[in-house]
Subunit: 355 residues, 2 copies
């Protein structure tokens, strides 16, 4: 089993290092190889996704990704900025299905800005389409406005688009995931305004005919944002496009108050995948040894489950994480009075010991 | 002063009726005329925005709008559905600046799903561009996919676009509004992915040069959704495009837990405007006499302030609303133990009396 390790920038290297330790502690025969991406890729090789890093990711059975981005690269032209690494990997590897659980661990209920009764026990799975939509649609650019009241001015423009089979395949992922959970799918769109998402709604409705055992509800994206704040526990699986999914999955993650705990998986059609924490590169705390490695460690567990067919080992890691939480160990981001504050490496130690 | 009253569907007629009573109680010489829009427009005249209703709105100094939408119109083709009334009015009247305050009245702090310390005293103003973006951009439709891996399939598509002067004028609205408040503007975009919003960021930055006394910060939309949940009080004025504004303003409204209290204004270049509650038509409670009329009454106050140049009368209405809240009167949506539950008309009575 070959795993590409792409630590990236900011806290990426620290948290990835702990996940690698945990993988090693499983006693399996993983071949792990590391490469630079993001700002680190640009600094070392002049590009956020150097060809060798991409080739490594393509040749591996799975990719463990840290995080990219740092203030010092903010002034680079867009094509060279760190986030091009993750956009490029998604596109080049065909990682169309992004799975982002928003789970609130009972021990961390206090960390949420929401009232405990609203979020305790929260367990939603957001499935975001990741290779289509306005993220990649062409044409796009800045041009002379061709028509309408602003004709002749400069205008920025982008194209939102979804083809039928793109919608079908992500809908299948959602219905199949729902079958293994609460059997309810909420498809989020803006069918009342956008042609793309009226089409999305029609196709999702068609695909649903294969899944009579799963309940399907359609919801407008503005209402979904409200319901996430009002009564998030009513959701089971949410499926949506790339742009709406970007917004809603971050909103849902923040409901838990412990985004440092949330893993994610981005899968292709054959369950090969890239795994990364839901949080960012946090350059402000990089190198201080205080970042929470658990989202990355839990991402490694998702990798074992979805791409490497090692569900038992995934269970072991998840149980170990629950155990360290039960022991009261907390990195600063999830610390509260009465618990024990630990650093990145100590948290990694604790998970390794719990295994 | 001529005011067009467009009650619409669901609870629209009940809540608008109370706002009309409040306006009448001011003892001014308003000429108010009413017309059908939304499902009511379709039922009576075959179109959600009948020509006579549009003409009335165009000829008036301001428009007071209730809400549109009802389950029974859900199966109509898109061009005849109730929401076309509001989209058509925005476009035809050139109402490009949508002002949506998200304010948490101290008396209602308990209604929020967020912890009181996170939201008490919340006072954000969201300024949403309302006539551009992917809402109206062409081309759009369903077509045969012209290129890429899905060539030949059906695809839905839409065009996001913003011209320079569209961005300029909404940026001016935001900076000017901020001057009268906390002097801070957060411009929300997705400049790391979208050409439209990189252009947006560039133009907003340029316009900011005229407002050295106002602080400008740029934030990605996914992060904005997170920060609204994490620390909403850090915001003063948020300015963003039509699509992101749709999502974020509903999210911000729901943070207060009392969306039945939130008014909105949609203004053209000459401060003529359409005023409507931030909530919807709530067909499930229509006709029961339990809907909260305060958002509509407060929308009437915004109308006096922004379009009719009657700030003193606007103050009177807002003070009257504060007074009825202080008296403990609550419609069911904001009721909690220890307060007095009242219906729509009783709430209207109370505001009229307080005037
Ligand atoms: C970094 C950025 C391009 C990316 C996105 O918008 O997809 C990020 O926000 C995410 O959600 O992974
Ligand atoms: C009804 C709908 C078209 C409308 C919108 O998306 O603008 C509504 O959600 C709003 O925010 O006023």
């Amino acid at each position: 089993m070959k795993i590409a390790i792409l630590p990236g920038d900011g806290i990426g290297p620290e948290i990835t290092a702990q996940a690698v330790r945990v993988l090693n502690a499983l006693g399996e025969n993983f071949e792990m190889e590391q490469a630079d991406v993001g700002g680190a890729g640009y600094a070392a090789h002049g590009h956020p996704l150097p060809p060798a890093s991409l080739a490594l990711a393509k040749g591996a059975d799975a990719v463990l990704f840290g995080a990219v981005g740092d203030y010092k690269y903010d002034t680079l032209e867009r094509a060279l900025r760190p986030e091009q690494a993750i956009l490029g990997l998604r596109r080049e590897l065909g990682l169309f299905a992004n799975l982002r659980p928003a789970i609130l661990y009972p021990e961390l209920a206090g960390a949420s800005t929401l009232k405990p009764e609203v979020v305790s026990g929260l367990d939603i799975l957001i499935i975001r389409e990741l290779t289509g939509d306005i993220y990649f649609g062409k044409p796009r650019g800045v041009r002379e406005c061709p028509d309408g009241p602003f004709k002749g001015e400069r205008e920025g423009f982008d194209t939102m688009r979804y083809a039928e089979s793109e919608i079908r395949r992500i809908a299948h992922v959602a219905f199949q995931a729902a079958r293994k959970r609460g059997k309810r799918v909420t498809s989020v769109d803006k069918a009342n305004v956008l042609e793309t998402f009226q089409f999305w709604r029609d196709i999702v409705t068609e695909v649903h005919q294969d899944y009579a055992d799963v309940e399907l509800e359609h919801m407008y994206v503005d209402n979904a944002a409200m319901q996430l704040v009002r009564a998030p526990k009513k959701f089971d699986v949410i499926v949506t496009g790339n742009m709406f999914g970007d917004i809603l999955s971050d909103c849902a993650a923040m409901l838990t108050g412990s985004i440092g705990m949330l893993p994610s998986a981005s899968l292709d059609a054959n369950n090969k995948g890239l795994y990364e924490p839901s949080h960012g590169s946090a350059p402000d705390i990089a190198g201080k040894g205080i970042a929470n490695p658990l989202a990355t460690i839990l991402s490694a567990a998702m990798m074992l489950r979805y791409s490497l067919n090692m569900a038992a080992q995934a269970d072991r890691i998840e149980a170990a994480v629950k155990q360290v939480l039960a022991q009261g160990l907390r990195t600063p981001d999830i610390y509260e009075a009465g618990t024990t504050k630990v650093g990145t490496a100590e948290m990694g130690d604790a998970v390794v010991n719990a295994l």
